[in-house]
């Protein structure tokens, strides 16, 4: 029983790492109905900028502040150079634009900061600890804590601030929001900057676990099943979807793995997502019929 619990808890905690990546997608999808292919590149850009700065000897806080400033600049540039000229185009056009954007961001980031793998030390040791007789990864525990704080902060922003209210208004009916005086361009800058910050948090955690290099941008592939299960429009969905994927992966690896010869983790989440697509295409918390991309 304790082996089962250990697997389950380990899986749930690992799942919050997926949730962190998925939340970045949800923010932009909610506000503009666009699947942002460049989210992984933003995540890589954030982690790479931070790692480069700390490599140069910058203290943690300084590196964090500079990286956040860089992400805000990138968000403003994306709104001005990409979203505004493409206003009123179909979501598919915008999706293609984010695809191009991902190459620009990745290429520029690696061109300027180099493509060699970097170790990222954010002062978190990956040493397991005992809770009762259950062994838990300390790192995953911190990651889960960060995810909870992040979701708390985001929901405060959405529910309590006027800008959060405007953001929900834009997500609900863009045309009406525009006609009553909501500055949509401003909202987009904010959404992309916040999505960048979420990417930074995810990038730091994933980067310190597997090193910072190009393949970091591929962690977004892990977010896809999470989004399909949780729904593209719900932050809570991202959390629940991440937990489901994490727990299912861990349990499948432990209990199905021996029967199927192991190696289940890389594909199991996608099979799960496929089953959800048959049963509940909008996801557990999805609001509307999502567009396939």
């Amino acid at each position: 029983m304790s082996a089962f619990l250990e697997t389950l808890i380990g899986g749930l905690l690992a799942g919050t790492m997926y949730s962190l990546v998925a939340i970045g997608f949800v923010l932009i999808y909610k506000a503009s109905g666009v699947f942002n292919y460049a989210q992984g590149s933003l995540l890589l850009f954030a982690a790479l900028t931070f790692a480069t700065l700390t490599d140069q000897g910058a203290p943690f806080i300084v590196a964090l502040a500079v990286t956040i400033a860089a992400l805000v600049v990138v968000a403003v540039a994306i709104e001005r150079l990409l979203l505004r000229p493409l206003a009123n185009r179909s979501p598919m056009t915008l999706f293609m634009a984010t695809l191009g954007l991902s190459y620009i961001v990745e290429g520029t980031a690696q061109g300027v900061m180099g493509s060699q793998i970097r170790a990222l030390d954010i002062g978190l040791e990956d040493r397991p600890i005992f809770l009762g007789d259950i062994l838990i990864s300390q790192f995953d525990l911190v990651a889960a804590g960060v995810a909870v704080v992040l979701v708390g902060a985001l929901s405060l922003m959405f529910d309590r601030t006027r800008i959060g209210i405007s953001l929900r208004a834009v997500a609900d009916d863009t045309r009406a929001a525009l006609s009553i005086g909501v500055d949509i361009n401003h909202i987009w800058r904010i959404v992309w900057a916040v999505a960048g910050l979420v990417g930074l948090v995810a990038g730091l955690l994933w980067g310190s676990r597997q090193g910072v290099q190009f393949s970091l941008s591929l962690v977004v592939l892990k977010a896809l099943p999470v989004l399909i299960i949780g729904g593209f429009t719900s932050i809570i969905g991202s959390i629940v979807g991440g937990l489901i994927v994490g727990a299912a992966e861990a349990l499948a690896e432990t209990y199905l793995g021996p029967l199927l010869g192991g190696g289940i983790t890389p594909w199991f989440a996608y099979v799960l997502a496929l089953i959800f697509l048959f049963i509940r295409p909008a996801g557990l918390f999805g609001e509307r019929q999502i567009e396939r991309v």
């Binding site: 405007s166 929900r168 609900d172 006609s179 009553i180 005086g181």
Partner: protein, 264 residues
């Protein structure tokens, strides 16, 4: 120019076409300050298209409109809102998943001064603004007798009440010109009377200039100070309700509206 400065809105030779089909051709008319101007005409006459030009959704092919003395063409909806042109849509375009008061607060967007940083950190200016916006939104809801619904999610309210929320949302920002696209459509007789009375009261008490599209001629002729009749994108008639009622061209254009109804 003094005459133009007196009127709230001066539409000048506006034309609009979609892929070669003329929606509006060479349309000119004037709306005086503080009047209710009704746009009537059969479906496809170009009424909604005109409202869409006035609030910046469409850009006219040619022509311009003068609002409060300033000639405008091809403006953005955001600019229209900032200049004080408010709008209600045909079929409600409310933020249906949000509460009534949040819907109305969004209508105050153009008056917002606190930055995101101030809002996120809950700094004094953001807190003062939040309190002020809430108070203003509640005050506007009171005008419509809606304050007890403030925290209700809009989707849960009946259509007629939703229309009042939409009016409140358009009004809270203090527009000087309000565009109403079929505000009475889809309502029963009682709701129609109530909304019509509200429109008349807003016009009287707030000296608000209103342009309204409406099919119910009985109500239009009672409510409006001035009626503009459109047909196939052209102006068919323009004048006070009494003159419009007796205009044979108007009667002919309103197929399906028997003379008796027009005279009622």
């Amino acid at each position: 120019m003094t005459a133009a400065a007196l009127s709230a809105l001066d539409v000048k030779n506006i034309s609009l076409s979609f892929k070669g089909v003329k929606a509006i051709s060479e349309l000119s008319f004037r709306v005086e300050k503080g009047e209710i101007c009704a746009l009537i005409g059969p479906n496809g006459a170009g009424k909604s298209s005109l409202l869409n030009i006035l609030n910046g959704v469409y850009a006219p092919d040619s022509g311009e409109f003068i609002f409060e003395g300033e000639p405008l063409r091809d403006i953005h909806p955001l600019e229209a809102a900032r200049r004080g042109i408010g709008r209600c849509f045909q079929n409600n375009a409310l933020f249906s998943g949000m509460s009534v008061i949040d819907n109305v607060i969004v209508g105050l967007s153009r008056h917002a001064r606190a930055s995101l940083i101030e809002e996120a950190l809950g700094l004094p200016r953001a807190r003062v603004q939040a309190r002020e916006f809430r108070a203003r939104a509640l005050e506007t809801l009171k005008l419509f007798d809606l304050e007890r619904h403030a925290e209700v999610i809009v989707r849960a309210l009946p259509y007629g009440v939703q229309k009042k929320v939409e009016l409140a949302r358009a009004l809270v920002g203090g527009p000087r010109l309000l565009l109403l696209d079929e505000p009475l459509a889809g309502m029963n007789a009682e709701e129609k009377q109530e909304i019509a009375a509200i429109i008349a009261r807003l016009n009287r008490d707030l000296k608000l200039t209103i342009i309204l599209i409406e099919h119910d001629l009985g109500i239009v002729l009672k409510l409006a100070d001035h009626v503009v009749v459109l047909d196939y994108g052209k102006k068919l008639a323009d004048g006070p309700p009494d003159a419009i009622r007796d205009n044979p061209d108007v009667i002919a254009a309103y197929i399906g509206a028997p003379h008796g109804e027009l005279a009622a």
